[in-house]
């Protein structure tokens, strides 16, 4: 398919469910789709399902136009089987492309959400009330409203984070000049002009899809080059849980699929409110929703590139907000990864979200808990993994830097074991050599592995004294990363985009 792509990490998947349990969940999902079926608020989708054998009738009790749809299992199975098992997500730099293969548990991590808040961090010095000679530096935080300049900054920083494999715009742009009409072209341009990795986002309005696609064509070098190297792709949350297809998102699915660009069919029910909190019920329902979404894409255009997008979360039972950093989150999500593998569709999964509002111990706990576990699952495409705080409401750049370090270590930890006959032969030779030497020290034989990157480095933000300077050290490191020049689109490409695509803020042009 392609020879050059990001390495990610190839893992041996940890599977929570037995194959029998996977089959039970699959049957349960199909049973839900047979009865009670779904509530479809988009006529075109309802008619398309009907044309392919679904039972469709108008729901007369509904205030908005709504069609009830029940699916024979065969329709879902046949359509899902047509979704490609392998797809490429392109990038401005060929080495940054991603190869997603449902049969290969190669894990990529990226950013996500569209947070309204950008959390800026600064260190401030405080003097002890007991001893004025004692001073400590403490991180102080300031909330800024997301805007296009900050999204550009996020993209530029994320280009420098070596363990971030793809970029989903993490920040909502709320400049005074931004309207629903020019939101899409600005968020895609701010991203694409500052990062050489894959760029993905949802569409704010269908009206601007053609402009976004044209922008991507200019960057990729034409219509055909864009199909071969789709530098952008889209996310559509076509289901409002439980089991309701949203009208305008369904229209976006039609248009995106017709454009030929890759699409994530994402669903995010909340266990305890919009889905059962019990694992079997939650997973059966979200799987049913995603299967219908994938079916829709394949009925629109057979073989269209699609990702199985699972974002099941649990409700906090004290306030019914989403609860991400908890055991059930991992359980739901890993089950979905296994189901995606069962259907042979690459999986868009989730990790790195929590309730913590600032970087620190709580954030570390919540993120590590899901980052590591979900990487072990072998999900091909893990979003939300960088910089998010306060669930998905805040993007904090220094948190993204901290997450980068954490994800790097996880990727290292999950690398394939290097145990083979040639390696064993080498090691036996080394043991003999060292035992014949005067000091019986293996250090000399560590260097090749060390310089090859086989041996991990200590935690990048460690402090050796009796203090914790992780955030301060991460801020220093971020400053260095941000001082490096950004890899903007060349001037001619920027000029052509500005000439052809209306509505992009002039301030986003980089010289």
């Amino acid at each position: 398919m392609i020879d050059t792509y990001r390495e990610g990490v190839l893992v041996k998947p940890y599977e929570r469910l037995s194959q029998e349990q996977v089959r039970l969940l699959d049957k349960a999902s199909l049973s839900i789709l047979a009865d009670p079926g779904i509530w479809c608020y988009n006529e075109r989708a309802a008619k398309l399902f009907q044309a392919h054998g679904a039972k469709v009738w108008e729901d007369e009790k509904s205030i908005s136009p709504c069609w009830r749809v029940t699916f024979p299992a065969g329709l879902i199975r046949e359509a899902v089987a047509k979704a490609p098992a392998r797809l490429v997500l392109g990038a401005r730099k060929p080495e940054n492309r991603l190869l997603l293969d449902a049969e290969v548990p190669r894990v990529y991590f990226g950013s996500g959400s569209e947070a309204n808040i950008w959390l800026e961090t600064e260190m401030e010095e405080f003097i002890s009330v007991k001893d004025s000679d004692v001073k400590v530096k403490v991180p102080r935080f300031k909330e800024l409203r997301g805007n296009s300049a900050l999204l550009s900054r996020a993209a530029k920083l994320c280009d420098r984070l070596e363990h971030l494999d793809f970029f989903i715009r993490p920040l909502n742009i709320q400049d005074p000049e931004i309207t629903s009409e020019n939101h899409d072209v600005n968020k895609f341009f701010a991203s694409l002009n500052n990062i050489t990795k894959h760029v993905q986002a949802g569409l704010t309005t269908l009206k601007k899809l053609n402009d976004v696609v044209r922008m991507a064509e200019i960057i990729a070098g034409g219509i055909k080059p864009l199909r071969e190297n789709p530098v952008v792709s889209f996310i559509a949350c076509v289901f409002k849980s439980p089991l309701q297809i949203v009208d305008d998102t369904a229209e976006k699915v039609f248009a995106i699929v017709e454009s030929g660009l890759p699409l994530v069919i994402s669903s995010s029910p909340q266990g305890g409110s919009s889905a059962p909190i019990q694992e079997a019920g939650m997973v059966a329902q979200i799987n049913a929703e995603i299967l219908v979404g994938i079916t829709l894409t394949q009925l629109i255009r057979e073989g269209s590139p699609v990702l199985y997008g699972s974002v099941p979360v649990r409700a906090r039972l004290d306030d019914l907000h989403d609860l991400y950093g908890c055991p059930e989150f991992n359980q739901y999500n890993i089950d979905c990864v296994q189901l995606a593998r069962y259907y042979q569709v690459p999986c868009y999964s989730t990790a790195g979200v929590g309730d913590a509002k600032v970087p620190g111990m709580q954030a570390l706990f919540e993120k590590l808990f899901t980052h590591h576990y979900m990487a072990m699952s072998g999900a091909q495409y893990i979003h939300y993994a960088f910089g998010l705080l306060d669930r998905t409401n805040t993007f904090c750049p220094v948190q993204a830097v901290l997450d980068n370090e954490q994800i790097g270590k996880i990727k290292h930890c999950l690398r394939e074991p290097k145990v083979n006959q040639a390696e064993i032969d080498d090691m036996l030779k080394i043991v003999k050599k060292v035992m014949a030497s005067s000091h019986r020290l293996y250090a000399r034989f560590a260097r090749k592995a060390m310089h090859r990157g086989d041996v991990s480095n200590p935690y990048r933000f460690e402090t050796k004294d009796l203090e914790d300077k992780v955030i301060e050290n991460a801020l220093d490191y971020m400053e260095k990363l941000e001082a490096e020049p950004a890899q903007h689109l060349d001037q001619a490409t920027q000029d052509q985009i500005f000439k052809e695509i209306p509505g992009i803020l002039p301030s986003l042009k980089e010289v």
């Binding site: 005067s438 019986r440 020290l441 250090a443 000399r444 260097r447 090749k448 060390m450």
Partner: protein
């Protein structure tokens, strides 16, 4: 190979950390080419002055390795590999240097003290000091104070290095210092101590001359220490 080329190749191999031909070194594709052992032997066979080998190849290359370490291009295993190369070279050159009347920088008796079997740190210090030109008398692990004093006397060593990893064995270091005093040797010997539980304060408390936090510290301290 002419003299200059041979010395240059020798220096290169020290930087590469290749003791003998079968070693792979740091860069790719060096395996089976002559390394430090073979090149030093060849240099002697060609009649190159051993002092010149030490100064032009070994010392210069270790300086380069030190600079790489300072720039964080090299880490401890790289330094050790190069130091081990110099140690091997010095073993081959020693008789020739003695014949030429050249002395080492001094004899350094090193040991992990009685009751303690940990020797990684001690070995690293021994390798690095040997690479820096000291003659090393390594007594191994679990070494009694009496044996250490005996070795100092036998070798007329002006330096002792004592290592311990356990809080329960570090006290043996004090015993060594006391015995040196009892034997009337204290003024003739500098005592350096090191190991995880030790500190500058502990060195001062037991009357040692210096605490070394690592092998590099030991080399630096020795440079400025006169007996």
């Amino acid at each position: 190979m002419d003299k200059q080329e041979l010395l240059k190749t020798l220096a290169f191999n020290v930087v590469q950390g290749r003791v003998e031909a079968e070693d792979e070194g740091f860069d790719e594709g060096l395996e089976d080419q002559p390394a430090v052992t073979e090149l030093v032997e060849q240099a002697i066979e060609q009649g190159i002055d051993p002092k010149e080998i030490v100064l032009e190849a070994l010392t210069k290359s270790m300086e380069e390795v030190g600079e790489k370490f300072e720039r964080a291009e090299y880490l401890i295993p790289d330094m050790l590999a190069s130091a081990e190369c110099v140690g091997v070279a010095m073993d081959i050159l020693s008789p020739h240097l003695m014949k030429a009347g050249v002395k080492s920088k001094g004899t350094f008796v090193i040991a992990t003290v009685a009751g303690d079997l940990h020797d990684i740190g001690k070995n690293i210090v021994a390798i690095m000091l040997k690479g820096a030109g000291y003659q090393i008398i390594d007594l191994g692990t679990d070494v009694s104070a009496d044996r250490i004093i005996g070795a100092v006397k036998e070798n007329e060593a002006p330096f002792i290095g004592l290592s311990a990893l356990l809080t329960t064995t570090m006290r043996v270091m004090a015993e060594v210092v006391r015995k040196l005093e009892q034997e009337g040797l204290r003024d003739q010997v500098k005592v350096l101590i090191g190991g995880a539980p030790t500190s500058a304060a502990f060195a001062q408390e037991i009357g040692a001359d210096a605490y070394c936090k690592d092998a590099f510290d030991a080399i630096d301290i020795l440079k400025t220490t006169a007996v």
